[in-house]
């Protein structure tokens, strides 16, 4: 009886070891989907969209100079920084971090031109809005791809 048990254990032990190893072997090349990141991106895009819409079609009495919009730019900067922190808080998330940094460059381009030129042409504001919309759409889509698993 004891010999039989020893024989079974001898046969099953290597398999048990393989079971243990294989069961813990799923690889992770890409971070998990982060809903907080997507919500923050949607909110930031809306913030920038409001700023640009007011520059393009200002309500009566609206100051469309850079000085008149510093508070709005500060809020956008804080939101973008929040996105950068969220993306950096995950492992295996280099692509999303790089994307957020690139969107920050796009937004800073707007702020720099506004500061240097005081006012912006309607054609510029319209195209900038489209660029920022597309940039955020790609960033959010990339995050959604993680959830969908492609």
């Amino acid at each position: 009886m004891r010999q039989n048990l020893a024989g079974v254990l001898h046969r099953v032990a290597p398999l048990g070891l393989v079971l243990l190893v294989v069961s813990a072997c799923h690889i992770k090349l890409v971070s998990d989907y982060d809903d907080n990141f997507v919500q923050a991106a949607v909110s930031t895009e809306k913030e920038i969209s409001t700023l640009l819409q007011n520059l393009r079609n200002p309500p009566i009495g609206t100051d469309i100079t850079y000085k008149g919009n510093i508070a709005n730019y500060n809020k956008v900067d804080v939101d973008m920084n929040h996105l950068a922190v969220l993306s950096s808080s995950h492992e295996n998330n280099a692509a999303s971090i790089a994307q957020v940094n690139k969107v920050i460059e796009i937004v800073h381009g707007l702020e720099t031109l506004h500061r240097d030129n005081t006012t912006l042409s309607p054609a510029f504001v319209t195209q900038k809005q489209q660029d920022i919309d597309l940039a955020f759409a790609i960033v959010i889509r990339t995050e959604n791809d993680k959830k969908a698993g492609m």
Binding site: L15, G16, V22, H26, Q127, L134, A135, I138, K146
Partner: protein
């Protein structure tokens, strides 16, 4: 100003992207292609608006930088998608191995 040939540039960029993505290209090309066309159309419009004086040179330069940035965002998306495809393939293989080992051990699947 020299004419911006959207078709030729689009083809060259798509080929470069397809080569970079390799075997995963078929699974990631759907969004890339549409957004690339948008970027190329934007670049063409910017050239025309600069020519007509609707955009200043500084504005046109900034907007062209945006188009380059958007291409970068797309490239990063393709990179993530490719990694997900590889991750799924490897994990599916691990699952198959797991099932085979469990069957050999006489455990329920």
């Amino acid at each position: 100003m020299a004419r911006f040939d959207i078709s030729a540039v689009g083809k060259a960029v798509l080929n470069a992207a397809a080569n970079a993505a390799g075997k995963t290209w078929k699974k990631v090309q759907h969004d890339f292609t549409a957004d690339l066309q948008q970027v190329l159309q934007n670049a063409s419009n910017i050239a025309l608006q600069l020519e007509s004086g609707q955009l200043s040179e500084a504005e046109a330069q900034d907007l062209l930088k945006d188009q380059s940035a958007i291409l970068f965002l797309l490239a990063e998306e393709v990179d993530v998608d490719s990694q997900i495809v590889v991750q799924n393939a490897v994990n599916a293989a691990v699952d198959a191995l797991w099932s085979a080992v469990k069957a050999a051990a006489g455990l329920a699947a």
